[in-house]
C-alpha cells in the first residue's frame, strides 16, 4: 500500500438542476475514486460549493480536474494541500455507555472540544467538529467503549488567509 496523500478539491458550481448528478456521474464514469464529497450553498445563491477529497496516490488528480472543468456548470476548481487550507468536518458518534462509564466518554470528547448531542439510558451521542484528523483520533479513542453508529459530513475547506509578512 502506498502512503495516502490526500488532496482537497473545492469545486464552485452553478446551482443548476442535476449538477450533483453530473459531478457524481463523471467521477463514477471515469473510475475516479474519491474519499469524500460534501455539498452545500455559498454566500451567493446561484452557486454551490462541492468539496471533494481524493487520494493522490490512487488517482490522477490533473485528469479529474480537467474532466470536471469540462462540465459546463463548473465555474472554478481550487486544489488544496492540507497545509494551505482550513479543513473542517462534523461528526456525530453514538457510543454505548452505561451511566458508570459515561464520564470517561464525556471526558474524552471534551479533550477534543466535542459536545454531548443526546443522552439515552445506555448510550450517548457526541458531536465533534474540527480538523478531520481530530475526528479520526477521537473515534479511535472511543472505539474500546463501543461505538454503535457514526455519521460524518465529509470535509469542507477554504484556502488559508495570507499571513502578514514578517520582516
Amino acid at each position: 500500500m502506498q502512503r495516502r496523500r490526500l488532496k482537497t478539491l473545492s469545486v464552485l458550481v452553478e446551482n443548476q438542476p442535476g449538477v450533483l448528478a453530473r459531478i457524481a456521474g463523471l467521477i463514477a464514469r471515469r473510475g475516479f475514486n474519491i474519499e469524500s464529497l460534501a455539498v452545500g450553498p455559498t454566500d451567493d445563491p446561484i452557486f454551490s460549493r462541492m468539496t471533494l477529497v481524493v487520494d493522490e496516490s490512487q488517482v490522477h488528480v490533473e485528469q479529474i480536474v480537467k474532466q470536471l472543468y469540462k462540465l459546463i456548470n463548473v465555474i472554478k476548481i481550487t486544489e488544496f494541500e492540507p497545509d494551505d487550507s482550513v479543513e473542517r468536518e462534523l461528526m456525530l458518534v453514538s457510543v454505548r455507555a452505561t451511566p458508570e462509564k459515561r464520564f470517561q466518554v464525556i471526558e474524552l470528547a471534551e479533550i477534543y472540544g466535542g459536545r454531548i448531542a443526546d443522552v439515552g439510558a445506555d448510550s450517548i451521542c457526541l458531536e465533534l467538529s474540527g480538523p478531520p484528523g481530530d475526528l479520526d483520533d477521537l473515534l479511535d479513542l472511543l472505539e474500546p467503549h463501543g461505538v454503535s453508529e457514526v455519521a460524518r459530513t465529509g470535509r469542507v475547506a477554504l484556502e488559508r488567509a495570507r499571513k502578514a509578512t514578517v520582516l
Binding site: G31, Q67, I72
Partner: protein, 618 residues
Amino acid sequence: MADRITGSQALVRSLEHVGVDVVFGIPGGAVLPVYDPILDSPIRHILVRHEQGAGHMAQGYYWATGRPGVALVTSGPGVTNILTPITDAFMDSVPIVVIAGQVARAAIGSDAFQEAPTFNMTMPVTKHNFVIMDAAEIPEVIAQAFHIATTGRPGPVYVDLPKDVGVEEMDWWWPEDPGANLPGYKPNVRPHAGQVKKAVELITAAQRPVVYAGGGILKARAAEALRDFCEKTGIHAVTTLMARGALSDEHPLCLGMPGMHGSYTAVTSMQKSDLLIALGSRFDDRVTGRVADFAPHAKVVHVDIDPAELSKVRAADVPIVADCRLAIEALIKEFDKQERRREERGDAPVDRSAWNAQIDAWRSAYPYKYVAGDRPDVVKPQYVLERLNAAAPDAIVTAGVGQHQMFASQWWRFREPYHWINSGGLGTMGFAVPAAVGAQVGAPDKVVWCVDGDGCFQMTMQELITASVEGIPVKVAILNNGYLGMVRQWQDLFYDERHSEIYLSQDVPDYVGLAEAMGCAGFRVDTVDEVDSVIAKAMAITDRPVVVDFRIDPAEHVYPMVPAGKSNDGVILGPAFGQPEHQMAGDGAAPMTSGGEGEVEPPPEHPDGHMTLDKGGF
C-alpha cells in the same frame, strides 16, 4: 406589445433564429405540441423511420455542411433509440442538437407512459444537456445549446422539453449573447505565445518530425492551414481515420492513415520519428497500438482545444490548448520568424534528406496492395473501391464499421476535406446509410456514396425508404461478403478459424429486390467485368437512391494490420507481401476477446507511476 406565443412556437422560432434549415425526426405524444408549429415553419422536416436514423442523419448533415445537425424525437423510446447516435457524436466530437419531448412536468418521476429518465441517460454522453421547466427559458436554452454544441470541442447537446412547457405561453425574446449566462463555459481558443515558440524550436530542430493530424483539424476548418504548415516546413503528415482528406491523399507530404489498419509508411514513420506534432488528435488506442511502445523516440507537441486530451495518454513535451486553426497559423508565423533569424545568423537548416528518402523508400516498398482474384467471379473489395473512386472522385463517402470501412479509408483517394464520413470512436454499425442521407440533404449537388457492409446495412437500411420518399438520391455500395467480415477476420487470425455466429448469407435478403421494395434502383455485381458497367449505371440514376450489391470475396482480410494491444513495430503486411495468412493464431496470438474490434489494452501507467484511470470503469 409583447409577442405572446406558445413554448412550442418559441422553440421552432428559436431554431429558425439559429439558422436551422433542416430537422430530422419522428413525432410522438410528448412532442406533438412542437410538431404543430413545424407545419408553419420554413424549416424542412425529414421524417425518418427510426430515431437512430435521425441522429446519424444529423451527423452526416454536419459533416457535409459544417452546420450542426438537428434531430427531434419523442419522449421515452424516442430518446432511447437515439442514444446511439448521441454517443457516437460525443465520441467523434460532432455538433448535433437533439430535442426531445418529455411527459408533462407534474408527471416527471412518476413512471408515466413513455416517461424515461432521459435527462440522466443523456448526461454522460453529451457535452451538455438541458431540461426546460419554464417556457420563458426556451429561446435562451436553444441559443445556448447551439453555442455549446458548436464552439470549443464540439459535441452533442440534448434538450428535454416537457409537453406542458411546449403548450404554455411566453413573451417572445431572443438573447443577444448566447454565452452571457454560461459563467463556467469559456473555451480557450488562442494559443499561448510562449508554448508556440517552444513548439517551433522543437520543430526546427527535429530530424524526423511527423504531423499527426486528427479530426480536430476538420472541426476547426484548418485543412488549408495544415497544408500551408506542411508545405512551409516540409514535414509529412498522417491523416487519422477521423481526418482523412484533411491533407489531400494526392499531396506529396501526405502519408495516409495511421493505426491498426493504417499504411505501413504512416505507422512506421510515426514509430521512428523524433517529433510528433499532434494536431487535433487524441492518441486513440487504434492509432497508438501498445502505448508503451508507441513512437518511443518522439518528443510530442500536442495541440488540442480540450485540455483534458493533453497528456491524457502520452505526456506532451509542449502542450498547447487552442483552436487548431489558430494554433497552426501561429506556428507558421513563429516558424517564419525563427527561420529569418536562422538565416540572419547564417546557420543551415536541419538536413532531413535522409529521413525524406527513407519515407519515400517505405512508400514505394510498402504501398496498399492486395492479391487480385484468380477467377472472374472473385471480386475483391479493394478493386470495387478503386473503380468506384475512379468513377466518382469527388463523391462524399460514408462508411459503416468493419472491413469495408477500413478498405474504404485505405483505398479511396480523398482529395478534399469533409468527403469522408464515418463512425470512428464508437464504431457504430448502421452509421453509413443514415449518415449518407443526412450528407446528401446538406449537399444536394454532390454525389454521395455510402460504402456499407452487408451486416451494417441490415441495421439501418430502412432509412432508404426515407430517402426514396423524400427524394434524396444517395448511392449505396454494399460490399457483400455474406459475413460479419471484421469479426470473421479476428476469428480467422486469433481463434484458429473457429467461426462463431458470423455467417449472414450473401443471398438473403435479396438486396436488389429489397432495394426495389424501398423505392430504390437495385443492381447486383457477381463478376469483375460487371463492376465498371454497373457503377456507370448507378452513376446515371439521379432521381432516386441506388443500391448495388457487390458480391465480394468473403475470405479477404484487411492488411496491413497491427493486432490489438501489440506494438506498432510489428506491422503485418499480409499475403500481398508474401506473408502467410493466419500466422497470428496459436502462439503469440493477441489476447482473446469477444468483440469484433478486439480489446483495449489496460490503462497506461501514468508517468509518476500511478495508473491513469480514464480508460477503465470499475
